[in-house]
């Protein structure tokens, strides 16, 4: 009986020590509304996803996250949100378990979830909205492969790949905005209603002038334009996705939990640290464009669309 008591006490003691050791520290910037709300939602999600003790640290613009992270126990996962803070922390090559979120760039040597939506998250919406589409075209930097879009087809340097959801992804290469304009012009001659054009959040070389030409052409030829930038939906693209902040936070919290459960890191040990593309997204749709394309939005379909931009 006494042995059982001691064992229980030890268990409780150990748990409490462990719990104290794996507190998640969330570092995020103080910004103005409505952006502050974005961070608030991500943090709330991360708290729920992590499920253990969480410390919030909101830093003003003149405060460096590095000084703060330095003094933390290396066993504690640190979730750093926002580009500025993530950039500062990632430059330091810290041995801490750093996870970054709400960032739009590439960060090496850290865990994290990028704001760039995965192709899977966006292509599933395309299949659902316009099942007739057979080919998805995307213009991207030379060397871009289907693997870059997280298609689950590996990193094969193919120009055309059977992606998920039964349509082909065709990558058209462009060096810069000038060559992209030519590629777009040539491409538009060939597109019809079985085709869809995907505009990447960055790297698709689309400025306002080009977007206007693309959308005007898509209106006349009735091919689908979808985008990874919701503003393009306002301007006439059929649909886009944008981050589901709470769920993204939840995923970041789960990620932190997984990492915290790992064995403690030792000095100099190589760890695989990489960014994931975002899969927690909301869908936004332009009703004027969907009407024009003859998409009959049933209530069931509307339930899967988070934000319908009403017709003018």
């Amino acid at each position: 009986m006494r042995a059982l008591f001691v064992a229980l006490a030890a268990l409780i003691f150990c748990r409490s020590v462990t719990a104290a050791a794996v507190e998640l520290v969330i570092v995020y910037p103080q910004v103005r509304e409505p952006f502050a709300r974005v961070f608030e939602e991500i943090v709330r999600g991360a708290e729920d996803g992590y499920g253990q003790k969480v410390q919030r640290v909101a830093l003003a613009e003149n405060q460096s996250p590095v000084d703060f992270v330095h003094v933390l126990d290396r066993q504690s996962p640190v979730l750093v949100l926002g580009n500025r803070l993530a950039r500062q922390v990632s430059k330091q090559n810290l041995q801490h378990k750093v996870i970054v979120g709400a960032v739009n760039g590439e960060f090496n040597g850290v865990y994290g979830i990028s704001l760039t939506p995965s192709f899977e998250s966006i292509s599933s919406k395309l299949r659902f909205l316009v099942p007739s589409v057979r080919k998805v075209h995307v213009i991207a930097k030379p060397g871009t492969t289907a693997g870059d879009f997280d298609l689950g087809v590996g990193n094969s340097p193919v120009q055309e790949s059977e992606g998920l959801h039964g349509f082909s992804l065709i990558i058209h290469e462009a060096e810069d905005i000038r060559t992209a304009a030519t590629v777009y012009r040539n491409l538009m001659q060939t597109l019809d209603k079985d085709d869809a054009l995907w505009i990447l959040p960055r790297g698709s070389f689309v400025n306002n002038a080009m977007l206007s030409i693309l959308l005007q052409e898509s209106w006349e030829k009735r091919f689908v334009v979808f985008s990874s930038n919701p503003v393009h939906v306002k301007r006439g693209a059929l649909f886009s996705v944008y981050p589901n902040n709470y769920k993204m936070g939840l995923s970041l919290g789960h990620l932190a939990q997984t990492i915290a459960d790992d064995q403690p890191f030792s000095e100099g040990q190589e760890i695989v640290r990489e960014m994931q593309l975002l899969s927690d997204v909301f869908v936004t749709l332009n009703e004027r464009t969907s009407n024009h394309l003859g998409i009959n939005l049933t209530d069931d379909m509307r339930e899967h669309i988070d934000l319908v931009l009403p017709a003018r």
Binding site: Q30, V31, F35, R37, N104, L115, D299
Partner: protein
């Protein structure tokens, strides 16, 4: 010219594209993933995407209201194309003039708070003791120009103004603020919100106090009486009486499918403007207590593809007098003159006093269904019941007939209570209304949408009315949308028009029919590029059965009759140009040409042309500047008014706002920057207009504001 030059210089400054990145923004360069800032607000639940009705409509958001530095809705509403805010003599109450439609008390405009009318039975307006409405609780204001009775019922006639208050979701941070400035103005407010499980709650309370205006009226009705009767008691020249002490309370709680809203508008120390009898008396003060509560249940789960909503609401309102309401000042003989201008009575030592008070109650119940189970159709249907009652009228006065003695009340006599006697000014009465409506939004073809709606109303006093509307919307091209609109509307006769008695000059008529309007509109929305939005519309309307007070056969009284007709046509044009990331220019120009068909003369009071420009730009370090210019042109006099046409005016306003930190914000607003002598037309009278020199608006006013969020 100097003013225009100043504006030009400001615009040139604005186009300087070298502004540095603003502080508090450097961590939000991810915004592209959320779209722009508007999207971020929508994505985070701060605002909702706004589906405009298939009509000529405008929406003004809380952020635009804030940028304008507005403290009252009227400052905001002036920015709506084709809408001009004129002033009534009594209380300087707002007259919302759409497309040339004007009349006494402005009952042709329906004002709603969260979709529920605040129309008073007495005069069909917002309240004689309106006192304005502060803006802190407002999420957005939706304005529809043209008729909307097929959806909203009575009085959605010349236009509809729907004020939507903030929800708990929109207020994630508490805030408090204070504003002080010219005319002894002090405003204090607090907004708070929270949630507990599925319960969300929000509250805003605002206290506002002002002396209102420095404008001076040079001569009034008593000035003319002084001239005729030889007295010298007029308070003119004297200040317009625009004082106000307002308490505005808005509460909201939502739990699952239920939403409860409550509000209160307490109005004290409300000045009477230029006087009910157009005679100044600086001591005249009104008050009004207004309370509203509504409960809404919305369910989308009972039937497939169907939304069901039940709503019940209650609105209690009053018009009260603080102290005595002096119609003509102490020493006046009053307007009781024989045909030769000789007074019937000696001077009234305390002035001519009439203290009318009115208490109203409005109860509503309605249900609405929206069904989208039929392919390419969205059908709405609803029914409802309304009961409105003037449940108490009191009147104390020192003129007229004493009901106890049946002899005239003489100067020097104490005030006599004529409440609940045949000698009171209006009878207590009620009105009920039952209605049904049906509307279908039909996707005719890929780019064609037809909205067809019909509403049938049955009123206990004036009977039946049915009002249709049709809206055909054609997505003509990628850049252009075309709308063709037809609508009919009705305006319920007010109790003052149907039940007024004992006014020595005018009598109500219980047999009045509602006024009617038919309106045709052709509207274009053209977006040549992403920086520029152009909208224009052309309209024609025919307004019939206009209620007017016509001379009776005895020639001494006038009785309300459905006798007038007015037609009008015109256009409204608006443009929004996002010149740079930091600079936006918005403008609108409206013109209308309306004719009083009964006399074949141009309709009076409304500007035939108006131009509104607003420039908004963001400077480094989170400074924001907003400049507005409102040019009001070509207002006709009433037929028989021999005065020259009233001068046009341009009023410039300027607001400067700085977000000092995430918690502090500072703003400075100058209204009527160049101290323009702006005037709104005063009524014509016999033998000449009492307030000859029209109704002066406020001169330059400076207001400073600090806001703290936590």
């Amino acid at each position: 010219m100097t003013k225009l030059y100043a504006v030009f210089v400001l615009l040139s400054l604005a186009c300087n594209p070298t502004f540095a990145e603003n502080s508090l923004n450097s961590d939000v360069d991810f915004a592209g993933f959320y779209g722009d800032e508007d999207y971020v607000s929508i994505a985070t639940g701060t605002t909702q995407p706004i589906a405009k009705a298939p009509a000529v409509a405008s929406v003004i958001t809380a952020s635009q209201i804030s940028a304008m530095g507005a403290r009252d809705i009227d400052q905001v509403l002036e920015s709506v194309p084709g809408l001009h805010i004129s002033r009534d003599v009594i209380g300087y109450n707002a007259q919302y003039l759409f497309r040339g439609i004007s009349s006494d008390f402005n009952p042709q405009v329906l004002m709603l708070i969260n979709g529920i009318p605040i129309t008073n039975l007495f005069q069909g307006d917002r309240n004689v003791v309106w006192g304005g409405m502060p803006v802190e609780s407002i999420s957005r204001i939706e304005v529809i120009r043209g008729p909307g009775s097929a959806l909203y019922g009575a009085d959605a006639f010349a236009g509809v103004i729907n004020i939507v208050t903030k929800t708990a979701d929109e207020v994630k941070r508490n805030s408090a603020g204070v504003r002080v400035g010219s005319f002894d103005t002090t405003d204090v407010w607090f907004t708070g919100a929270g949630e507990k499980g599925e319960l969300g709650y929000m509250g805003t309370i605002e206290f506002t106090k002002t002396d209102g205006s420095d404008a001076v009226i040079s001569g009034d009705a008593q000035s003319l009486l002084d001239l005729i009767t030889g007295t010298a008691v007029s308070n003119a020249p004297g200040s317009v009486n625009r004082s106000a002490e307002n308490i505005e309370l808005r509460l909201e709680a939502s739990y699952k499918k239920l939403r409860l809203r409550a509000g209160s508008q307490i109005r004290n120390n409300i000045g009477d403007g230029a006087g009910a009898a157009q005679a100044l008396n600086p001591g005249n003060k009104f008050s009004s207590q207004r309370f509203n509560v509504d409960l809404t249940y919305t369910d989308e789960d009972i039937f497939d593809n169907t939304l069901i909503e039940f709503q019940t609401s209650y609105f209690d309102t009053s018009q009260e007098v603080e102290g005595n309401f002096i119609l003509y000042p102490a020493g006046s003989t009053g307007p009781f003159l024989d045909p030769f201008g000789v007074p019937f009575f000696p001077p009234f030592p305390d002035g001519v006093i009439g203290n009318p008070e009115i208490f109203e109650r409005h109860t509503r119940f309605g249900m609405r269904l929206e069904h989208s189970g039929i392919s390419k159709h969205r059908i709405s249907a609803g029914a409802g019941y309304y009961d409105g009652e003037i449940d108490k009228i009191t009147e104390w006065k020192n003129f007229g007939i004493n009901p106890d003695t049946m002899f005239p009340i003489l100067p020097g006599d104490p005030l006599v209570d004529v409440s609940d006697t045949p000698f009171v000014f209006l009878t207590e009465d009620s009105r009920d209304n039952k209605y049904v409506f049906l509307q279908d939004v039909w996707q005719l073809a890929n780019d064609w949408e037809l909205t067809a709606g019909l509403r049938h109303d049955s009123y206990s006093d004036f009977g039946l009315t049915t009002n249709p509307r049709l809206a055909l919307v054609w997505s003509t091209s990628y850049k252009l949308t075309t709308k063709l609109l037809y609508g009919e509307a009705f305006r319920a006769p007010s109790f003052a028009q149907t039940r007024a008695i004992n006014n020595p000059l005018i009598l109500g008529n219980i047999n009045l029919k509602p006024e009617e309007i038919k309106s045709y509109e052709l509207a274009f929305d053209y977006r040549p590029n992403y920086e520029l939005t152009l909208m224009t519309n052309f309209f024609y309307y025919d307004w019939t059965d206009i209620i007017q007070f016509k001379s009776d056969t005895n020639n001494s009284t006038r009785t309300a009759q459905n006798s007038g007709e007015q037609t009008g046509y015109g256009m409204e044009f608006e443009a929004t140009w996002q010149a740079t990331d930091n600079f936006t220019l918005t403008g609108n120009f409206a013109m209308q040409n309306s004719t009083d068909e009964t006399q074949d003369v141009p309709a009076a009071k409304s500007p035939e042309k108006q131009l509104y420009l607003r420039a908004d730009w963001v400077f480094p370090k989170d400074w924001r500047v907003n400049v507005r210019a409102n040019w009001v042109m070509d207002r006709n006099r009433l037929s028989g008014d021999m005065r020259p046409d009233i001068d046009d005016y341009i009023v410039f306003d300027l607001s400067l706002r700085n977000v000092m930190s995430n918690t502090f914000e500072f703003a400075l607003t100058v209204n009527n920057l160049f101290d323009e002598d702006a005037r709104e037309p005063s009524p014509n009278s016999d033998p000449r207009p009492f307030i000859f020199n029209d109704l002066p608006l406020s001169g330059r006013a400076l207001l400073g504001e600090i806001r703290y969020s936590f």
